[in-house]
């Protein structure tokens, strides 16, 4: 239980499921990109996902649940944590893509340990999201990704499988949460 009502309010502002849905779909697309050898596709997912998430928030969610401007201290903290999450995301993406390209260029087998790397690096991003949003469900996604990454190495499957599976879980959770928001009465002009 979060200590203050403000902290609980902040966490509830991330409970609409839009981030889960968009990032889940993004992971599925990245996984498919890996399986089809369209590694460049993975680089396009984060910016497109960000635009989609912002549009979903402003056009669909905020008209129903309302909009708030946070106090200065909260805004600064969120900006710092968002920047840190973005840096982790970019570094993870670069490492994952670089490793895959290097492995394939050297003709190593797909059962190489590096196949588990994308899932584990994505787990770091999910953990950062858990901290940013104060939402434990993102830590569960991270745990799922780590397990998937380990199984990828042990079973010798491709790197796409844990991403697609975790993406499917996140997108499903996000879809359910978003459906609850959409079930709220439709918006009208304010009184």
């Amino acid at each position: 239980m979060l200590r203050t009502p403000e902290a609980r309010l902040y966490r509830s502002s991330w409970a609409d499921g839009s981030l889960d849905l968009v990032s889940g779909i993004g992971l599925i697309v990245i996984g498919i990109g890996y399986s089809l050898d369209l590694v460049v596709l993975t680089a396009m997912v984060p910016p497109l996902g960000l635009v989609a998430w912002l549009l979903l928030r402003s056009r669909v969610i905020e008209p129903r649940i309302g909009r708030i401007e946070w106090r200065g201290d909260r805004r600064e903290r969120t900006a710092r944590e968002t920047a840190a999450t973005a840096v982790i995301g970019v570094v993870a993406l670069l490492i994952a893509v670089g490793a895959m390209i290097a492995v394939r260029a050297n003709g190593l087998s797909s059962a190489d340990a590096v196949d588990g790397l994308p899932a584990v690096l994505t787990a770091l991003l999910a953990l950062a999201a858990a901290v940013l949003t104060r939402s434990p469900r993102f830590a569960w996604y991270a745990a799922l990704l780590v397990v998937g990454g380990v199984l990828t190495v042990v079973l010798g499957t491709g790197p796409d499988l844990p991403l697609v599976i975790c993406g499917g879980v996140a997108a499903t959770v996000g879809g359910v949460l978003l459906a609850r928001v959409l079930a709220l009465t439709s918006f009208e002009d304010d009184a």
Binding site: P5, E6, L9, E62, P63, R64, I65, G66, R67, I68, E69, W70, R71, G72, L184, F187, D189, D190, A191
Partner: protein, 102 residues
């Protein structure tokens, strides 16, 4: 014995439960729009409009309207006197409840 009341008085504008919730919500943020207050305070649209009008008339909140797409968005913020009133209410309430044996 002094004839001055021992117990503090509570501001009736702040003390009303729905208005108190609205003021506390606004104290947690810089500003919030009508829909946010509607969801969080769990009031009807009509009741929320009445309560916000009352708070605005008392000078405890400030109101701004903007057009977003085809919609009118009404945003509220706690005014400086609203913040003072809420702080004063908290002190009075703490003082009042300190008289209750635990």
């Amino acid at each position: 014995m002094s004839r001055t009341p021992v117990l503090p008085k509570l501001d009736p504008v702040v003390h009303e439960p729905a208005r108190l919730r609205l003021l506390v919500l606004l104290a947690m943020v810089d500003s919030a729009d009508f829909m946010f207050l509607l969801r969080q305070a769990d009031l009807s649209r009509g009741n929320l409009s009445v309560q916000m009008k009352r708070l605005e008339e008392a000078g405890l909140v400030t109101v701004s309207k903007s057009v977003v797409g085809s919609r009118v968005r009404t945003s509220y913020a706690l005014s400086p006197s609203g913040r003072r009133a809420l702080t004063g209410y908290r002190e009075s309430m703490l003082d009042l409840l300190s008289a209750v044996p635990s």
